[in-house]
């Protein structure tokens, strides 16, 4: 698997979330994703970016255009240095939230993408990498 291109942006406010959606949409269009996949990727990015701003105190997003053989993909890595998630299984449960949202953002973005990796340590931060292949 090779990384064709990458970019890092900082995400600290809700205005940045709008920017995340725009950039992720641009990248998925460039990579030739279908309209449905574009929408899924943008929505997942929007969820995770908002989680990062709301619960992680802001962080960074790395976008990577991947290629593996003939297939191409987009990987988004969200990394913050916030409080971390104590119980990842619980956090991934539909309807579970520590805030006042619907509790579907994390689990929903997992369903919207092909690959979903989460790494979190209490007190250190959270890193979530999601990938969509076409």
């Amino acid at each position: 698997m090779a990384v064709q291109k990458d970019e890092v942006m900082s995400v600290t406010s809700s205005a940045d979330i709008v920017l995340v959606r725009q950039i992720v949409r641009k990248w998925s269009v460039e990579l030739g994703f279908s309209l449905i996949d574009q929408t899924k990727i943008v929505t997942a990015a929007s969820e995770l970016a908002r989680n990062m701003v709301d619960y992680g105190g802001g962080g960074k997003l790395r976008l990577e255009a991947l290629s593996e053989g003939i297939r191409r993909g987009l990987r988004l890595t969200f990394e913050d240095t916030g409080p971390g998630i104590p119980d990842i299984d619980l956090a991934l449960k539909d309807g579970y939230t520590t805030g006042n949202g619907l509790g579907l953002g994390l689990s929903g973005s997992k369903r919207l993408m092909n690959e979903f990796e989460i790494y979190s340590r209490v007190g250190e931060g959270t890193r979530i990498a999601i990938t969509k292949w076409r």
Binding site: S14, I17, V18, R21, R25, L35, I36, Q38, T39, K40, V42, T43, S46, E47, R50, D94, G101, L102, L104, G105, S107, G108, S109, R111, L112
Partner: protein
């Protein structure tokens, strides 16, 4: 003077004010500041001479490093007003900063003449002068930036107001065509204006059209559900229309439950449902017009 730890810049400014002004004006013309169409020669001369005398006054305190000290307040005010007026006139931040930076050469020339035989003092003096003028120049850029930010904030507010119209489609039927991002601040305005219109028009059905919303994530869905719930509390039914295929699929994957709400793909379909719920029927007339 620098030999005993004190700078002579204030004295030089005072002593050579007239020459400095002439040189500075020449320098500004040479720097290619776009001004001929915007600022008249006399106006520029007046601005420069006023700035120069304020600068001279401020330096008399001996403080050349902290331009945010009270003795510099008049200089800051002058720069702010110059910066503001030039921004309005369409100057670039480069042009505005050059107003200050172009003063470097005239001042340095005089310092050089004064300390031609004392390189060490000259270096010290030039450093103080460049430090001071850099700070003042950067201040104009900061002011420019602040003006821009205010402009953006104002436009954002205008957009909030503009993009949330509630339209009366028919007797008892309202439509709310949503466009753009549904962030919290805007949703608040949308909710308020919708509920207000429901009371004013005593409508029974509201159609919320999300054709113009590019991304429906859980936050947007939650806002929609809350709006529907609030309208329902007032005795009004809500129909959500404009759900495109990709949005429908995404909502399903996210796991958002919209089954309590009537949804339609197109605004027209939603309008038909709304009409039939209010007891209206549409029929094509058979006679000739």
């Amino acid at each position: 003077m620098s030999l005993n730890g004190k700078t002579t810049i204030p004295e030089i400014l005072k002593k050579y004010q007239a020459e400095l002004l002439t040189d500075w004006l020449k320098e500004q013309a040479a720097a290619g500041i776009r001004r001929d169409n915007f600022i008249k020669e006399t106006e520029l001369r007046q601005q420069c001479s006023e700035f120069l005398s304020l600068l001279t006054n401020a330096t008399q305190s001996g403080n050349l490093s902290d331009i945010f000290a009270p003795e510099w307040s008049q200089v800051r005010e002058m720069l702010t007003s110059i910066s503001n007026s030039r921004t309005r006139q369409g100057f670039t931040p480069r042009d505005i900063a050059l107003f200050v930076f172009s003063f470097k050469r005239p001042l340095f020339d005089h310092l050089r003449k004064e300390f031609a035989h004392n390189g060490e003092v000259l270096a010290d003096e030039i450093w103080s002068a460049t430090d001071l003028l850099d700070k003042l120049g950067l201040l104009t850029t900061e002011i420019y930036q602040k003006n821009r930010e205010e402009l953006i904030a104002r436009q954002q507010e205008e957009m909030l107001e503009l993009s949330t119209p509630v339209v009366k489609l028919w007797e008892g039927i309202l439509a709310l065509p949503l466009i753009g991002t549904l962030d919290s601040a805007r949703t608040q305005i949308v909710m308020e204006s919708l509920l207000q219109m429901i009371v004013e028009t005593s409508s029974q059905v509201v159609i919320i059209d999300i054709t113009g919303v590019p991304t429906v994530d859980t936050l947007v869905a939650q806002h929609l559900l809350k709006t529907v719930a609030a309208a329902r509390l007032m005795g009004t039914d809500c129909i959500i229309s404009g759900i495109r295929p990709q949005i429908a699929q995404t909502i399903v994957h996210l796991g958002v439950d919209l089954s309590d709400v009537t949804t339609k793909a197109k605004l027209g379909d939603a309008f038909l449902v709304a009409l039939s719920r209010s007891g209206f029927k549409i029929s094509r007339s058979e006679g000739e017009f």
